[in-house]
């Protein structure tokens, strides 16, 4: 087991390198450079600008230079936004994207799980239809459509929530003393939390609801549940003791990938709510050929995905015996 984990951890390095390499050449293959400008700039000046950012060198040299800087943990500068460093940009945007993703994940697990359980226990009754209805809406609506409708109904028409920005407390990844703020429920501005979270998390919630319902239904038909019921155990007891935890396995296996998808997939929600998260920076950077930002965000996301996948696979290895004997 330890050997497996060590090998897999070391493997992350070449994976990151390969992804960075591919991204590097792909983004340079996108037509047009960062300094295209409508006003006349003499060729000499354009050369000077390109030289300042090494863009005058051959792609191969730029590649080597980039990785050399990367080894020194230098991610370069953004061409936009007053040329702040990519590191600063990540430091500003990541805490927000992570908060958004984590809260949406919790929402998806709680709401999706609860609805799934309710639906399964009330099979073909009102509770079931409620769960199915929710799962249907969630599955069918791309999040940008849902987000727009949510904003128009709940912010513009009803005035319950704010339209702009994210209401999480400020914190910094590299400063553990700030982490605790996230757990202070009074530090959050919920008028700027609810809508983005619902928009981002509902597809995942509906998916979890479907899996939970199916899994619960299967377990409820198992012999040991029938036995427990036959023994005259209270229904509440049966469900809590015997059903829920056995139904949990298939649900747990999807939570990892859902977490990754929520944390990395927030760029549309970030755009519709004008949240300065990292996903929005990435999309903007592609359109403005902001090479440093594209690389920085890709690398960080790839690292996140790789670590998450590692944890998922380790957890599979842990859960594996149960799956087999199940």
């Amino acid at each position: 087991m330890t050997g497996y984990i060590v090998r897999r951890t070391l493997w992350i390095i070449p994976v990151l390198w390969a992804i960075a390499t591919l991204t590097f050449f792909l983004m340079h293959a996108v037509e047009g450079g960062p300094f295209a400008s409508e006003k006349p700039v003499p060729p000499r000046i354009e050369e000077a600008l390109n030289a300042k950012y090494n863009l005058d060198k051959s792609l191969g040299e730029q590649y080597v230079l980039y990785f050399w800087d990367l080894l020194h943990l230098d991610l370069g500068t953004s061409f936009n936004a007053n040329q702040i460093t990519v590191r600063e940009l990540l430091a500003q945007g990541l805490p927000i994207s992570i908060q958004l993703g984590v809260v949406a994940f919790i929402y998806a697990v709680v709401v999706g799980g609860a609805l799934g359980v309710i639906a399964a226990l009330n099979q073909n009754r009102a509770g079931d239809y409620l769960g199915v209805f929710f799962a249907t809406i969630g599955t069918a609506m791309p999040n940008f459509i849902m987000a727009s409708f949510l904003v128009i109904i709940f912010s513009v028409k009803l005035g319950w929530f704010a339209v702009l920005g994210w209401g999480g407390p400020e914190w910094a990844l590299d400063d553990p003393t700030t982490w605790a703020r996230n757990f202070n429920p009074f530090a959050w501005d919920y008028t700027r939390v609810v809508l983005p979270v619902v928009a981002l998390g509902t597809l995942a919630a509906s998916y979890i609801a479907r899996i939970t319902r199916a899994s619960m239904l299967e377990v409820l038909q198992q012999d040991y549940v029938r036995t427990a019921r036959a023994k005259g155990l209270q229904e509440r007891h049966v469900i809590a003791r015997h059903t829920l935890k056995n139904a949990m396995v298939p649900i747990l296996t999807v939570l990892g990938p859902i977490f990754v998808a929520l944390v990395t997939g927030s760029f549309i929600v970030e755009r519709i709510f004008a949240i300065p998260g990292i996903g929005r920076h990435f999309v903007t950077a592609i359109f403005t050929r902001d090479y440093g930002v594209i690389m920085g965000v890709t690398l960080f996301y790839a690292l996140l995905v790789a670590v998450a996948n590692l944890l998922i696979d380790i957890s599979y290895a842990v859960v594996d015996p149960r799956i087999r004997y199940h």
Binding site: E31, G32, G33, P34, A36, S37, E38, K39, P40, V41, P42, R44, I45, A48, S78, F79, N80, A81, N82, Q83, I84, Q92, G93, V103, I106, Y107, V109, V110, S148, V151, I152, S155, V156, G159, W160, F161, A162, V163, L164, P185, W188, Y190, T191, V194, K245, M248, R271, I272, F273, A274, P276, G277, R280, H281, T284, F287, T288, R289, V318, R322
Partner: protein
């Protein structure tokens, strides 16, 4: 054992989530709902300090992300918008082209040969940090624009200053740039040739001051907020990328005091998002996209500020197909500009065939070229037949390069349909993002594209010189015509305005009537929603993202 662990994990998650849910239920949002109740606007408008406005106050305004705040580098209208809030120059350019002294003390003294300008600046000017702002700072500012390391994108506007081009081109030295302070409040600018429009340039950001003591050297980077040198009514204290820029009142502003305490520039790229936020009361001023116009144009808080910006079709003159004058004229005459304005522009622009807007000094009168290039389906068909493609038969493919935006998509589809109906030709569209479009345009790698111009200063010269001479640096459509060249060469050195404008009119007529790289379609309007509580916002004629002179903005008294 293991089962218990999973169970615990789930319980913890549930408890955590419940905490959230409960706290959420307790939360009352105390958002002030000021967006909903319209207050009467004071109609006396201007910046008089009457009892109608309250002292201080904060507003939030929508903007898109600037690239930087360096006045001597920027050419991007969003940058310039912010720069003009945080910095100020010698003169203010008022709508209509009048110059109002700002930091200058009166108008410049011009030598008889028109080559030497002596500018006096006001006494006691200060930077926001309390440092003295003197003539040396203005000299330093102009030197920065000419500096090759700064690589100012608007340097070309100072090309007439002696030595500026040489220094910028890496051949001269900063000491040869024709600008020098004679004492703390006076400096002298030397020109290559007399230029009647030169005073207007002293109102533009490339001539704004730079702190010669605050910056290490002439080619030092312009510091980012909160350290940005600030000489305007508001100073940038914070810039969070993708989120906002905070501007607070400059207590040391030398030319009076701003009425508002704080302006937050909220960075929102998507105008429909901005509209939602405005209607929810979170913003006080936004730009409105054309697609949102139908639903806002009847509202009292809607303002359309028509700008001297012309948008048109730009054919590449060296293209085998488009170098035929008949083909170009056929395309121009097959385009119904009234209909285009109604359908694509939601009626909010001004259809035109003029390149230089008629109200600019030295422009031709409105409609002067309608007979030659204006909409006429029959004439268009005949022109295309003359070119050898009757009813579009045998017409080779025509591709238009367009920047991807909702407005352009509709524009492109409109032209596709109209040219198909009238001329029987197929137009294909190459839809690319802004950077790709710019790169292709700059390397003249296109057949047909859309483009336009908004003036830097109000004079026909700014619309023609440097844009349409053979080999001019922005002349990517490769318009090359001896008549145009001759007229513009004369206009450049002529100091008598009437004679100069006559040449410019001649050049414009030739450009438009031969569709030499330009077929004008419309003058663009800028659409705003402005909270009716916010007064003192005057229209600006510049191509800026927001109206100018934020020091005059104020909140109406409750």
């Amino acid at each position: 054992m293991r089962k218990t662990k999973w169970w615990m994990l789930f319980s913890i998650l549930t408890v955590f989530a419940l905490t959230f849910a409960v706290a959420c239920g307790d939360d009352d949002d105390d958002d002030d709902t000021d967006g909903g109740n319209p207050t009467a606007t004071s109609d006396d408008g201007d910046n008089g300090d009457n009892g109608d406005t309250q002292a201080g106050g904060e507003i939030t305004v929508q903007i898109t992300e600037p690239e930087g705040l360096d006045p001597h580098f920027s050419d991007f209208s969003v940058d310039i918008t912010v720069i003009q809030m945080t910095n100020r120059g010698l003169y203010d350019l008022l709508p209509g082209g009048e110059l109002r002294p700002a930091m200058a003390d009166g108008m410049p003294e011009v030598s008889d040969d028109g080559l030497t300008y002596t500018v006096k600046i006001k006494e006691g000017l200060q930077w926001s940090d309390g440092e003295t702002l003197d003539a040396n700072d203005f000299v330093f500012g102009i030197q920065r624009t000419c500096d090759p390391t700064i690589a100012g994108h608007y340097q070309y506007i100072l090309t007439n200053i002696a030595g500026c081009d040489d220094y910028y081109g890496g051949e001269g030295s900063v000491d040869d740039v024709g600008v020098a302070a004679t004492d703390n409040n006076t400096f002298v600018i030397t020109l290559h040739t007399a230029q009647a429009t030169f005073p207007s340039l002293l109102a533009l950001w490339p001539t704004y001051p730079a702190p010669d003591e605050g910056l290490a050297s002439v080619d030092a980077d312009w510091p980012a907020p909160p350290d940005s040198p600030c000489s305007g009514p508001f100073c940038p204290t914070e810039w969070v990328a993708g989120d906002h820029i905070t501007l607070v009142k400059n207590e040391n502003y030398s030319l009076g005091e701003a009425k508002l305490d704080k302006i937050t520039l909220r960075i929102i790229d998507d105008l429909s998002v901005a509209l939602n936020a405005y209607d929810a009361g979170e913003l006080d001023m936004i730009r409105v996209s054309t697609t949102d116009l139908p639903q806002v144009r009847d509202r009292d808080d809607y303002q359309n500020i028509a700008l001297p910006i012309t948008i048109g079709l730009e054919p590449l003159m060296t293209d085998p197909l488009l170098k035929d004058l008949n083909v170009r004229l056929a395309l121009s005459r097959a385009t119904d500009r009234e209909l285009l304005n109604e359908v694509v522009g939601e009626g909010a622009n001004i259809p035109t065939t003029n390149w230089v807007p008629a109200e600019e000094p030295g422009a031709n009168e409105a409609g002067a070229f309608d007979d030659v290039v204006g909409f006429d389906a029959e004439a268009a068909k005949k022109l295309l037949a003359d070119a050898g493609y009757p009813n579009g038969e045998g017409f080779p493919g025509l591709t238009m390069l367009l920047t991807d935006s909702e407005g352009n998509r509709v524009l492109g589809e409109f032209l596709q349909e109209q040219w198909k109906q009238i001329l029987g030709i197929e137009l294909s569209i190459d839809f690319v993002d802004g950077q790709t479009r710019q790169a292709r345009f700059n390397s003249s790698d296109f057949q047909l594209t859309t483009g336009g111009w908004g003036h830097d200063y109000p004079d026909a010269e700014n619309w023609l010189v440097g844009l349409y001479e053979t080999g001019a640096s922005i002349n990517k459509q490769k318009c090359s015509d001896p008549e145009i060249d001759a007229a513009l060469a004369k206009a450049k050195v002529e100091t008598d305005n009437e004679a100069r404008w006559e040449e410019l009119r001649k050049a414009e007529r030739r450009i438009v009537e031969t569709a030499c790289g330009m077929m004008p379609l419309y003058h663009r309007g800028n659409h705003y929603l402005i909270n009716e509580k916010l007064v003192g916002v005057t229209p600006t004629l510049e191509d800026h993202y927001l109206p100018q002179f934020p020091e005059d903005w104020a909140l109406a008294a409750e």
